[in-house]
Amino acid sequence: MLACHQLTKRLSSGATELVVLDHVELEIRAGDFAAILGPSGSGKSTLLGLLAGLDRPSSGEVWLDGERIDDQSEDALSLLRRRKVGFVFQSFQLLGNLTALENVLLPLELAGARDARARARELLAQVGLADRTHHYPAQLSGGEQQRVALARAFGPRPKVLFADEPTGNLDAATGARVLELLGDLRAREGTTLVLVTHDREVARLAGRRIHLRAGQVERIEEGALA
């Protein structure tokens, strides 16, 4: 489903060159729940971005759903993400001038879904926000915003969902509720999930845990610990 070979990302700022990711080898099967773990600055977000086609590697290959994506054009990658990829971010990233419903609708309409509106309402109901559809992000709490983001991410039935520290900006209880919903939706839709976190508790739910350190895969653990 998702794989990378010898994936390397170098960043140069002036004279110095920084190796953010160093020959990373990884393979994630369809329907898996993989967590990427590591201390801050270890390259987790960078890896996620490369796997999702948000950025291009310095060298190495990235494969997503049988397609090689590391050499595709920016627009081609946009269209690919539109069809196959969903995102949840640490900082929610809702569009402030659109209502909750409109935020959820946006990727659905981009993907040209027929029943966009019904699907958006159904998802908002599933995350417990049926009565908040016409509220703007500023009128919602952090947890509620992240639930809208979940609904938005699952809308077009993506094959892979990438989540970067989805509970990082939330308190423990709210975070737990968001994770629970994420798990439920993933189970119902059969979505492959790649979740980045530095929180071991969060990672316990995952089927695999990929430990990063200084841009390299330190070790991989198999099996949920829950």
Binding site: S45, L54, E74, D75, R82, F87, F89, Q93, N97, L110
Partner: protein
């Protein structure tokens, strides 16, 4: 403080550029107008003797009495040179042409040289049998030097053509090309004998330069002691063409206000940029406050920063604007006399600099007031919305703003009434536009967006985006559109009106100075040429000697010495033309009193506006001096005249019988085809050389060309306002660039292509433009309709269908500018969405 201010500008190149551009455009417009006028004035001043041809000129409708000379004895009697001027026909074979004839003595001109081809001195070339003509006459008639032409029935040989007149500025309105003859030559033609349309001018060269004060005192003595003084117009070279300079001043105050409009718009742009900047600095201000800066110090720091930027913007604009006069020789060489060096003028540059700086500061005070309200405790919080300022502070800032705009308008128009009208009008228009824009934003926020295309939905939603400055941008752009569209509408309607102004039944030619015994002959010639609507009236010229028994001399002392129309002195002292009629023509309407209603007295009917200028009303008694005989008439009716009908009309109409026996001539009007008019000129030149035909069509054409020059100026300045509006829109786009950059990254992450993003944001800016364009254009149409119907009294007949195309054009321009200004945001990469 300066280093602190400079540090503030680091890392904000976009803001800097828009700030500078916003101001520079307006300042360039203001400076440009002022520099242009200054450079023309400098021509008038530096060549004032050459323009007048003398130190002193006395102008009258009758010969200038010799006694006047003695008053200008400054270390010796002045030299005097007589000039006679009149409009008359020249003919050569079958060609005829109306010209302005100038009969001069050999001393003419005292200053400057009239350059002739073949070379020679005007005084030497002119003999009683020869004349000198302007090149235009040769071009238009096909004559050449050495040919002969007829003036007032007498033959003249064309001795030379005028290549250059000293300091001649082609701004004056003329009836035809110039022809010079000698006084003896004019005497040969007997044209002078018919009196009524000859202008007498005495030019003087003074023995020594008496200085301004002595000259003024001499003029005052002439006014007080010489009996004919009320009929004399004295002009010294020190006045430097007062009439021309007055129209120049009017031109400057009018165009100056239009230019100021773009500067004020630039000011609103500055306000927006400052507001966005202050909002983004709230945290920084809180930190400064926390480490012990007082609010006043913080404000001073920020104001210093604004002043620095404003200085930069104003300097750029003032430099560009003050260079404008150097373009004139390229665009309109006829406005620059030969040999005149255009100099860079400091005053307009300084004016632009001061106005730009002032407007920028005045407009930044209201948004900067927010700094006072940043409490140090905000360091601990993360919300960056600035608190609203207290009502009192907001209101004082608004009043300061209005005061500043008023001061700027006063500086431009030098008339408190104009300045007040400008400020008030602007406030009302901006307020209306702001209200309408706010309303639309409100509606946009609540509009059901359910069924909309996602791109359009995003655009509509973005209109309601808080803090996006949509209202400000809409007002600025809307005002720009308003100015340009209303100017274009009014200009095109007036031009069209002038072009078709000659109604079907209006006369196309007027015949002046038909002697009573010539009328039968002239009338039969007119009939023979197929003239229609032939009308003739007696015309009598007389001066007023008293109003209600008070001597006009006494009355005129109380009035400003203004040769223009209106309530000046000239209205009272000039030669009045009047007629007598039994019934009023159709285009006259009585507004007060009744026509010829008092059998006991000699009655007069006066046009209502003229009556107001004279300061008379029903029952006023006016005494006229008709060739030395005083005749008193009483006003028993006031009339309104529809001048646009181009009929023969007079301010003053007397009762028949009152003046019939006085010497007079007849004025005739008739409608002829252009061909017929040419033939009429031939016949008149042959049989009645003293009769001057004045054709309406060429005069309308001249008027049109003058109007189109002014309209061009307004249009260019109007363009500046639109440009400023677009720059402001761009400024708004940059001020939200950070937010937009994040959105772009997110949208790309969600799968939008680059084209999709361009479409999305383009649509958003286009919507702002559409709303501004529509609001501005609607306001322009309404104002123009009001102006045309109420002020000019003409059916507006506006092309309302043009509203939508205008709005669409503004929308396209806005989309273009908005996208350019967001270019950086549009390049945000999707990966950036991972870094919250």
């Amino acid at each position: 403080m300066v280093t602190a201010a400079l540090r503030e500008s680091r890392g904000a190149r976009g803001r800097l550029a828009f700030f500078v551009l916003c101001l520079a455009l307006g300042v360039a417009a203001v400076t440009g107008v002022s520099a242009l006028v200054a450079s023309i004035e400098s021509v008038l001043r530096s060549q004032s003797r050459e323009l007048l041809g003398a130190d002193l000129s006395i102008d009258a409708r009758r010969p200038v009495p010799e006694v006047v000379d003695g008053y200008f004895n400054f270390g010796g009697m002045p030299e005097r040179s007589e000039v006679r001027e009149l409009a008359t026909l020249v003919s050569a074979g079958s060609k005829t042409k109306l010209v302005e004839l100038k009969a001069v003595e050999s001393t003419f001109p005292f200053y400057g040289e009239i350059v002739l081809d073949p070379p020679g001195r005007l005084g030497d070339v002119l003999t009683p049998q020869r004349c000198v003509v302007a090149r235009d006459l040769l071009v238009e008639t096909g004559l050449k030097v050495g040919d002969s032409l007829k003036l007032g029935g007498e033959e003249f040989e064309i001795a030379a053509v005028v290549l250059d007149e000293p300091g001649r500025l082609d701004l004056a309105f003329t009836l035809g090309p110039r022809v010079f003859t000698s006084r003896e030559g004019l005497a040969r033609t007997k044209l002078e004998g018919f009196g009524s349309r000859v202008r007498y001018r005495a030019l003087y060269r003074l023995a020594t330069d008496p200085g301004e004060r002595a000259l003024r005192e001499a003029r005052e003595r002439v006014d007080a002691e010489v009996e004919e003084a009320p009929y004399l117009k004295i002009e010294s070279h020190r006045d430097a063409q007062p009439a021309l300079r007055r129209s120049l001043e009017r031109f400057e105050s009018y165009l100056g206000l239009v230019a100021l409009l773009s500067l004020v718009l630039g000011g609103t742009g500055v306000a927006q940029i400052v507001r966005a900047w202050v909002a983004s600095r709230t945290q920084g201000v809180a930190v400064l406050r926390a480490i012990g800066f007082r609010p006043r110090e913080v404000l001073a720091m920020y104001l210093g920063h604004v002043a620095l930027l404003a200085l930069a913007g104003s300097a750029v604009g003032a430099t560009l604007g003050s260079l404008l006069p150097f373009l004139v020789p390229l665009v309109a060489p006829e406005l620059v006399p030969k040999g005149h060096q255009i100099l860079w003028e400091f005053a307009p540059f300084a004016k632009g600099l001061v106005l730009g700086l002032g407007v920028a500061l005045v407009f930044s005070v209201p948004p900067l007031v927010a700094i006072w309200r940043v409490a140090p405790v905000r360091v601990l919080r993360s919300d960056v919305e600035p608190l609203p300022a207290p009502k009192l502070v907001t209101w004082s800032a608004a009043i300061a703003l209005a005061g500043g705009i008023f001061a700027a308008a006063f500086a431009q128009a030098r008339d408190p009434l104009y300045a007040l009208a400008f400020t008030g009008g602007l406030a009302v228009l901006a307020g209306t536009l702001a209200l309408a824009a706010r309303g639309l934003v409100w509606i946009a926020g609540r509009l059901p967006r359910e069924g909309l295309d996602p791109y359009l939905r995003h655009g509509v939603a973005a209109l309601a985006r808080p803090g996006a400055g949509v209202v400000g941008a809409t007002v600025a752009l809307g005002l720009g559109v308003l100015v340009v569209v209303s100017m274009a509408l009014i200009d095109s309607r007036l031009t069209e009106r002038l072009r078709t102004a000659l109604p079907e039944d209006a006369p196309s030619v007027f015949l002046i100075d038909v002697q009573p015994d010539q009328w039968d002959g002239v009338e039969s010639e007119l009939k023979g040429l197929g003239a229609a609507f032939v009308r003739d009236v007696p015309v009598l010229t007389a001066r007023m000697s008293a109003i209600d028994g008070v001597d006009v001399k006494v009355l005129s002392q109380k009035r400003p010495d203004d040769s223009g129309v209106g309530r000046g002195r000239w209205v009272l002292t000039r030669e009045q033309r009047m007629t007598w009629l039994k019934e009023l023509p159709k285009d006259n309407k009585l507004v007060a009193g009744a026509l010829w209603s008092d059998p006991e007295r000699l009655e007069l009917s006066v046009e209502e506006k003229f009556a107001a200028d004279l300061g008379v009303g029903l029952g006023s008694r006016i005494t006229f001096d008709v060739q030395g005989v005083p005749i008193e008439l009483v006003i028993t009716s006031l009339r309104k005249v529809e001048w646009e009908s181009f009929g023969i009309n007079f301010f003053l109409v007397a009762e028949p019988g009152a003046l019939d026996s006085a010497p007079h001539f007849r004025l005739a009007a008739a409608r002829l085809e252009p061909d017929g008019e040419t033939r009429l000129q031939e016949v008149l030149a042959e049989r009645f050389p003293n009769v001057t035909p004045v054709r309406v069509r060429p005069i309308l054409d001249k008027l049109l060309s003058v109007l189109s020059r002014l309209a061009l100026g307004v249009r260019v300045l109007g363009l500046f306002t639109i440009l400023t509006g677009l720059v402001i829109l761009g400024g708004v786009a940059t001020s939200t660039a950070l937010q937009r950059g994040r959105e772009v990254a997110l949208l790309k992450t969600l799968g939008l292509t680059r084209f999709g993003i361009v479409r999305l944001f383009g649509l958003e800016f286009a919507l702002v433009g559409l709303v501004s364009g529509l609001l501005g254009a609607i306001a322009a149409f309404v104002l123009s309709a009001l102006f045309l119907e109420r002020v000019v009294d003409t059916p507006a007949n506006l092309p309302w269908w043009a509203l939508l195309p205008i709005a669409v054009a503004v929308a396209l321009a806005s989309a273009f500018c908005g996208l350019i200004a967001s270019a950086k945001a549009l390049r945000s990469r999707p990966i950036e969405s991972l870094r919250g």
